[in-house]
């Protein structure tokens, strides 16, 4: 009996395995994601956060009856209490509702993170793929640019820009994206260099595909999955950078709440109102953590090398590619940059 049960289970598993093998990359990824509780939870948390952020003005008017700028000097330094909804997280030195400000801050942080990452993805993919495809002079320029930008401490550079310009959310997002594409470009370049030698690209070339078509239709779809993973991680990194720059006072400027500048404020009242310091920090931490977990989960779901199970993993796509596995984690995209030492670098 027991043996029968086992055989039956094995049979179903085989069946499932077979069905999965026939499914396409994206459907297979979905199949995997649905069975990954950590990623699902992280996705839910981010989803709820995005909805709350989008609904912040509605919630402010209809539920909390406060906007992010309403001051109420008489009830300043109110400790968090359940007495009224707008006091759930207490008030600051001007009697502004912290929960409403937190929700409005989420709008800024999530917008900057996602829009910045999109910018980084577009620039990085464009630069990396063209550099890897055309090689030559253009490749030298891109590599030089990446190496140079990589040796400037980002926060110091942003400090200079913050001194010269007052940063509104949109230009700030574009700026962060414009400085954050290095890792993505490097990875896209490495992958393109190995993919352009593949038979199907050669076949495309022999039937007369233009370079643009080869890149857009044959190379980019192959690196897109991992680009999405890198993009997710980038969103998290940009949210961290934004909060840090806003914290030191050179990012989003005070009337507009952001998680970073709420902490600037809180740090001035450590003794009097210590409760102010927890919510924005926890918000950043949870958001970034969830984004990293989603990135991790997506990588597991999308990486074709992991598909066949861990034992029969095909050989790396080319020498030194191994290093590319360290995708997850905060400094991952930079890890990839520095992982070049043994990688597919140079033309020889």
């Amino acid at each position: 009996m027991a043996t029968d049960a086992v055989t039956a289970t094995v049979a179903t598993l085989r069946q499932r395995e077979a069905r999965r093998a026939s499914a396409g990359l994206w459907r297979d990824a979905l199949w995997r994601l649905r069975r990954d509780p950590t990623t699902l939870i992280a996705l839910t948390v981010i989803g709820v956060m995005v909805i709350l952020a989008l609904a912040a003005p509605l919630l402010g008017d209809g539920f909390f009856h406060k906007t992010e700028r309403d001051q109420d000097i008489l009830s300043n330094y109110t400790k968090p209490t359940f007495a009224q909804p707008w006091l759930w997280l207490g008030t600051d030195e001007l009697g502004r509702s912290q929960i409403v400000r937190l929700l409005f801050g989420a709008r800024v942080s999530l917008f900057i993170g996602s829009f910045g990452a999109l910018t980084a993805l577009v620039i990085g993919l464009g630069m990396g793929v063209t550099a890897g495809y055309f090689r030559g002079r253009w490749d030298d320029i891109v590599v030089w640019l990446v190496t140079t930008l990589n040796s400037v401490p980002l926060l110091y550079l942003l400090l200079i820009i913050g001194v010269l310009f007052r940063l509104e959310p949109l230009p700030f997002a574009v700026l962060l994206g414009g400085l954050g594409w290095l890792g993505i470009a490097n990875y896209a370049r490495g992958q393109t260099i190995s993919l352009r030698e593949r038979e199907y690209v050669l076949a495309g070339r022999t039937v007369g595909c233009t370079p643009v078509r080869l890149m857009v239709r044959h190379i980019v779809p192959n690196i897109l999955p991992l680009m999405i993973v890198l993009g997710m991680i980038e969103v998290g990194q940009l949210i961290l950078t934004e909060s840090a720059i806003s914290f030191i006072g050179f990012g989003i400027q005070p009337p507009t709440p952001s998680w970073g500048n709420m902490l600037t404020n809180a740090s001035q009242y450590l003794g009097k109102a210590p409760y102010l310091i927890y919510p924005p920090g926890v918000a950043v931490f949870v958001t970034v953590l969830c984004l990293y977990l989603i990135g991790d989960g997506l990588r597991d779901a999308l990486d074709p090398r992991l598909r066949a199970g861990s034992e029969s993993r095909p050989e790396g796509r080319d020498g030194g590619d191994r290093r590319g596995q360290g995708l997850a984690g905060g400094t991952a995209s930079q890890g990839l940059v520095h992982g070049r030492a043994g990688g597919p670098h140079g033309r020889g």
Binding site: I160, L240, F247, L263, S267, G271, I277, Y292, T331, H338
Partner: protein, 282 residues
Amino acid sequence: MLGGQYDITPEDRIALRESLGLNDPLPVQFAKWVWNVAHLDFGNSFYYQRPVMSLILERVPNSLQISLAALIVTIAVGIPLGILAALRRGTLADHGIRVFSVGGHAIPQFWLGLMFVLTFGVQARWFPIGSMNAVGIDCGLCWDRLWHLMGPVAVISIAGIANLPRLLRTEVLEVISQDYVRTARSKGLKEQAIIAGHVLRNALIPVVTSFGTILLVFFSGSLIIERVFNWPGLGRLTFEAAVNKDYPLVQAGVVISSVLLIVSYILRDVAYAWVDPRIKVR
């Protein structure tokens, strides 16, 4: 120009523009600046009215104290954790280290610093809430300095410690299945000797590369951590200069920190060749 309370004559303005070199065309100004920088002359600070270079040289050692201490702590804690995670794969320790890695990446450093100041400084009063020395004590590297160092170093090291074990774990797992490790085992070496002499030596090679990233994190982090802990280092100097719109000082701060970063990259590459002698052959 200065709020009208100082009577500035047009002649003064012209003289000031002349003395700051603002009458030259922009490319000439830039060329002059680059020329001077090449001679390590960043001009005078607007705010302190002193040569920028001497201001910076005063602060660099303070910043290096934090970075070096953080590097030592990161290596001392991160490498054993990485080996532990690899050798005890799948156990509670491994999972714990993984959770710590992901968490350590996601936590904003400055917030961690603020929490440290709030919890251990303001509330528990175990650690000082900022600065380098207690009032009236300046003894170089003594107990008082170490006591003040602990907060910033702990906070900065968290980022490095989150990075290192994860990388090292992958490498150790890969090396441990190599033939030479099996050979070492079969000739009866002690487990510690195998780990230290055969596994670690090879697993460390790619890890050295990751120090570039870790150093970058330290340098960027110092800007904010020095502000949180009120540490008189290069980061805080640059930050305060930015607040005061003291452009020569900000420029110099960025250039010097970039140079320090590049120098540490070079040191990393030297260390790379030292850990992996095959590099020299290539």
